[in-house]
């Protein structure tokens, strides 16, 4: 084996490794971005479900007007929210308002027995879970991607091609971390 052959083989092997590392980083970063947009999909799903819920409840609990109106207002505020921090805060308030509506079913047995209401409750529980799980998946993807950009030898490839660590989804203000209180 001449020195030239060895040099060619080594170069080819290095190139293959480099390509594999680069592609790995690209797919991990894309996964983060997909997961982020998935969170928005789930939030919009919740906005769409809420008017149906309010209609179902109105028929049975006419004098709970304030609770129902609070939900509609919280929903509209969340849709109109600007920054990520504002949006997270509005989402939290919306969760609290929804919980009050479900608490209503304890006081109105007719409402509790209603099939539509039960189905609605399952849908909204599921939507809350989906929002939480999509945020969890986003954070997991970001964790995997950040580890990949910082491990050796990936960090060299990351530096060369400009792969920066992504940010985690976090609640910015301490009040948002408290679970909203349900009051009758």
């Amino acid at each position: 084996m001449t020195a030239l052959t060895i040099a060619i083989v080594v170069t080819v092997v290095l190139a293959v490794i480099l390509i594999a590392l680069y592609n790995g980083l690209v797919s991990k970063r894309t996964r983060c971005r997909t997961a982020w947009s998935q969170i928005d999909v789930q939030l919009k799903r919740r906005y769409d479900l809420i008017p149906n819920l309010v209609e179902t409840v109105k028929g049975y609990a006419a004098h709970e007007k304030e609770t129902l109106e609070a939900v509609i207002q919280a929903r509209n505020a969340a849709i109109a929210a600007g920054t990520v921090g504002e949006q997270a805060q509005c989402e939290n308030m919306l969760s609290g308002a929804l919980r009050q509506i479900f608490a209503l079913s304890e006081a109105y047995p007719d409402l509790k027995a209603n099939q539509n209401f039960a189905a609605m409750q399952e849908e909204l529980t599921s939507t809350e879970n989906k929002i939480a799980f999509s945020r969890q998946h986003y954070n997991d993807s970001v964790g995997v991607y950040n580890i990949a950009t910082q491990k050796f030898p990936n960090n060299m490839v990351a530096g060369m091609f400009g792969f920066k660590p992504e940010e985690f989804f976090e609640l910015e203000e301490p009040e948002q971390r408290e679970a909203p209180k349900v009051s009758f």
């Binding site: 996964r31 997909t34 997961a35 998935q38 789930q42 189905a119 399952e122 849908e123 529980t125 599921s126 879970n129 989906k130 799980f133 999509s134 969890q136 998946h137 993807s141």
Partner: protein, 340 residues
């Protein structure tokens, strides 16, 4: 040879850790599902890698005996055995799922049929970033669930109506997360691969032993007497090969069962990774361990794919090295250790 010892020692370690915790691995307070997953993947790698070496080694040895000590013949036999195993694995890959579901009286459901089950699975797909599998209900009052499919894009999960009715939403989610973890970790692929390799190995040893009975190794003895030192080596080779060919099928099944148990623990840890709620699955397992009914549609062939062994008398002897699932108490204690 050393791969044999390695596999046997991994199995003995797992054996000892169950009844007495002295030599085994306790769950430490700092254990998270990440470390559990890493440990289980390492053990699987050791078991599968060791078994493959064992398989090739047996092929070589048997081929050498047939070829009167020539290693080229041994290599040919090993390659043919590996080739057969590869082709059979591919066939079972693409044919597997529909046969299994047909056998189990499963009925596919849409969202309208069972919104809660559908939602539970959808939530898990969001948590794991996997596509939605096909969901089946099995009309049986016994409590069990299983998953099948060669990768997440071609997967199906199934649950019995008995189990579906008796679990809370969180417990149901834990069970479905366990099943989906099997799919995400490609356990079905591993199980098929191991089954095919064990099958080919057993067949090979069987054919070898029969061939000796009909004098295959001795036909060349007249020729080898002319070679220097060929005769005693040949006899030693035959004796070693015969002993190994008798033990090999049993040893292969022990390794296969050990791998199956590792993958069950891995699926439990994977379920926690998805739901971040060990209590859901732990509660479901506790309910399952109380159930005495036998699942009528299951049989021994399909048993490893279920969440608990569907034939109850095996569950009672669950600390045997031939069981496909670890003891439920051990699984529950590993899960509850994660909550502290």
């Amino acid at each position: 040879m050393s791969s044999l010892v390695l596999c046997a020692s991994v199995e003995i370690l797992t054996l000892r850790s169950r009844p007495k915790a002295a030599l085994g691995r306790r769950i430490m307070a700092t254990e998270t599902f990440h470390t559990l997953i890493a440990r289980n993947k390492r053990n699987s790698f050791i078991l599968i890698g060791g078994f493959m070496l064992f398989f090739i080694g047996m092929g070589l040895l048997i081929g050498m005996v047939w070829g009167a000590g020539e290693w080229q013949f041994g290599a040919t036999v090993a390659v043919i055995a590996a080739g057969v195993a590869f082709v059979l694995t591919l066939l079972s890959f693409y044919g597997g799922s529909s046969a299994l579901l047909g056998m189990s009286k499963a009925r596919e459901i849409k969202k309208a049929d069972d919104p809660q089950l559908f939602n539970v699975v959808e939530e898990l797909c969001l948590a794991g970033g996997t596509p939605l599998p096909r969901i089946y209900l099995i009309g049986d009052s016994a409590m069990n669930a299983f998953a099948t499919g060669r990768d997440p894009a071609h997967a199906s999960v199934a649950i019995t109506t008995g189990l579906r009715r008796k679990l809370t939403r969180d417990q149901l989610q834990g069970v479905m997360a366990h099943e989906m973890s099997h799919v995400r970790h490609y356990d079905i692929r591993y199980a098929m691969l191991m089954a095919v390799m064990v099958g080919v190995l057993v067949m090979l040893c069987d054919v070898f032993l029969r061939s000796l009975w009909f004098g295959a190794g001795s036909r060349r003895r007249s020729r080898s007497r002319d070679r220097e030192g060929g005769n005693p080596l040949q006899i030693v080779l035959i004796i070693v090969a015969v002993i190994l060919a008798i033990i090999a099928p049993i040893l292969a099944r022990i390794i296969q069962m050990a791998l199956s148990r590792q993958r069950e623990y891995l699926a439990d840890a994977g379920a926690v990774e998805l739901t971040r709620n060990p209590d859901g699955l732990a509660g479901a397992l506790a309910r399952l361990s109380g159930d005495q009914e036998v699942l009528e549609v299951a049989n021994r062939a399909t048993a490893p794919l279920y969440i608990v062994h569907p034939i109850k008398k095996f569950e009672a002897r669950a600390s045997s090295i031939f069981s496909t699932h670890p003891p439920i108490k051990e699984r529950i204690s590993r899960l509850t250790a994660l909550t502290h």
